[in-house]
Symmetry: C2
């Protein structure tokens, strides 16, 4: 990747690539991909390595022709479209995302970053420009993790091939092995070449919908993503004592539901008191063991999903959770277990600066933003300078049939992706 600033000449060329983006062609391709697994209500059902997802891969491979291009596979099922560079020995500059969906997802999500990257290639062709670095569009395998767990299998195995053997024995709800589903997909796309896992990458930039309401609320067309926040998952077990709802006075109860509700409210109050709009605290599960309308419950388990871009803030809030649960569950007992811990991923300052510069030159309203969700870019960031670009999600909705983004925002994102990629690969 470049490690100097962008010259005015380069910026002019980058603007030319951005201007070569063809909105009609891009939107046609984006809508065409959505027909694979498309539902009448606008949703898309295209889980990883299903027959329909394989047909979508075949369709995608048919969209690009010419001596400059090659389609390649690796052992994790990732698919790459390589556009040759002037210096063939250089590691590629990559863009991309995933095209598998949740069991019922929307038409954009990862598919946006895939088709946006494809359109950039075609815009470079139209502009008659080549690049020093090879360019690659990556379609990462099984990002959602809804059919085969865990998620982001493709990008995480790409970043660290030692992860792959464990993924091979993952089984879907119908008992199908990941390795068997992978082989069936390979058999169906035999025209692609093969590349090894673990090969070097010069830089990675991923376009994605925001999946949150921040850009829309601020009126921004583009989000310059500064990093992916860290996540910690906790289970809080509250243990009281079961008792008859009619015979047991309030003051002698050890009511696990009431104690858990109290803890949950205090944890929320502590989060709000920090006034940090990057902090996320969510309790999405709250389970009463042996629920009964006329029994004081003895055990409740609730979860906490804690997120923030800074490890120090995660540490401090985890300490606060432990302190609140330790003292606040009385007369019940509370116990906190951390069941998942993923540190923050700050993106590379130079890639972030390039995205910001391209956004600025596009004339669109933009802002810096952290990513609340995981993305394939999180694993690529372990391997190379990495960044992301967001476009707004209408009402913040994603993983849902109502997921949508205004067409002009989608196109603005493709143009900025084009300019950024050209600046990286020039």
């Amino acid at each position: 990747m470049t490690d100097t600033g962008i010259s005015f000449d380069l910026a002019d060329l980058a603007d030319r690539v951005a201007a070569s983006v063809n909105p009609q062609r891009y939107l046609r391709l984006q809508r065409a991909l959505a027909t694979f697994g498309g539902r009448e209500d606008g949703g898309v059902e295209r889980q990883a390595l299903t027959e329909v997802e394989t047909r979508a891969r075949q369709w995608l491979m048919a969209q690009v022709k010419g001596h400059r291009y090659r389609w390649l596979y690796d052992d994790a099922g990732n698919l790459f479209l390589r556009r040759d560079g002037r210096e063939g020995q250089l590691a590629p500059v990559m863009t991309g995302s995933h095209m598998d969906t949740q069991p019922v997802g929307g038409w954009l999500d990862g598919a946006y970053g895939v088709i946006a990257g494809l359109e950039v290639m075609l815009a470079l062709d139209d502009a008659g420009l080549d690049t020093r670095f090879p360019l690659e569009l990556a379609i990462w395998n099984n990002e959602e993790g809804s059919r085969f767990g865990p998620g982001a299998m493709g990008s995480s195995a790409f970043a660290d091939p030692s992860r792959l053997p464990a993924f091979m024995s993952s089984v879907d709800a119908d008992g199908v092995l990941f390795s068997d589903a992978l082989q069936r997909m390979f058999d169906a796309v035999q025209t692609a070449g093969h590349v090894p896992l673990g090969r070097p990458v010069s830089a990675y930039i991923e376009a994605h919908i925001e999946q949150g309401p921040v850009l829309e609320a601020a009126g921004s067309t583009l989000g310059v993503v500064t990093g992916i926040q860290g996540v910690r998952w906790f289970e809080v077990l509250v243990t009281g004592s079961s008792a008859h709802a009619g015979t047991t006075p309030l003051d002698v109860r050890q009511d696990a539901v009431l104690a858990a509700a109290t803890l949950l409210r205090r944890i929320a109050d502590a989060a709000l008191a920090l006034g940090d709009d990057r902090l996320r605290v969510t309790s999405g599960r709250f389970e009463v063991k042996s629920p009964s309308i006329n029994t004081v419950a003895d055990r409740v388990l609730f979860t906490i999903d804690l997120r923030h871009p800074e490890e120090a803030v995660l540490d401090a809030f985890e300490a606060q959770i432990r302190s609140i649960v330790g003292s606040g569950a009385a007369p019940c007992a509370g116990e906190v277990s951390c069941i998942m811990r993923k540190p923050p991923t700050p993106f590379h300052p130079h890639v972030v600066a390039l995205v910001e510069q391209a956004s600025n030159r596009s004339g669109e309203l933009y802002q810096r933003i952290g990513s609340g969700a995981f993305h394939d870019a999180m694993y690529l960031a372990d391997r190379c300078p990495t960044g992301m670009l967001f476009v707004p999600s209408i009402k913040g909705v994603s993983h849902n049939v109502a997921e949508d983004t205004k067409e002009e925002h989608l196109v603005a994102g493709v143009r900025v992706l084009a300019a950024t990629l050209y600046s990286l690969a020039r």
Copy 2:
């Protein structure tokens, strides 16, 4: 029943009956009944109309002999032991309870009132006393309602025979009809005579374990029960909006779990603020619809079990619940539905006074107490002057293998039941 005070002579005779209670015989009978369905851990499995419950009925019928006694059945499966009185045309004075258990219950519960009543009959025999009113020991069918719903089938059909037809089509978890299980039990106890439903009763008094911690905490041996509190069951549905736990800032969420926890805490605070130790408020169910650790939940349903001996207090607290839910669920919406409403049952002041007098003369520590749980006496109170007597539950535990009461408390209860019954039937 008597409608004047107890004379000193009568009190002396009542004391004589109490003194004739035989602790060894009573405890032997109580323990013998517990062997029907008894478990090694001290618990008892003896659900209504099971084979083991039928064998327990046969055993019980074999414990009493003599020309003075008759065993009788009615169409609801209630079993009665009638001890003739001097004036055969008078409606009987009754005592009793039930001997079915929860799927896994304790050795006392309703079985205490059954064996206590039996011992009173035998003590009257030993004291050589007859009574003006016939005396009857009632074993009410299917009080628990755990095998065939609803509970208190026998006593409620006794109080109002129009209820019986609906009960006949109740089905247990194995698909067995209540009417078929009832017929099998009748076939097994053919030696009993038949009495119609709807016959008059002069008075009813039921001994039972407290099933709560109040007597033990106060150091009382006996509880003079003043009535059964009213109950109202509510469902509260909280509706928010689902959102991504990572991407959605705290201040734009409509988090149904947090809103429900907040309501629950406020309702509990309102209950505690009243400082009324007879008020019971319990949320035993709290269900997140579509629970997911990393999703802000859009729907939560929780229940409220509200109890108090006074209808006016129930009205006032229901209004408070509706007000808290109406205003306090924001930014989510809250909706309260009442799914069950049972008014308080005050016991007859004269029966309560007789139990109190007998308790006082026993020399034991006693107190007035409300019943937090339902009992067969609740339905008998619709038909005749009714009262109850409680003995302490160790640690307040019932419906559990650990259910227990000190032997001396059990015996003290039988003596006071004996004195009260004699005062009623003299």
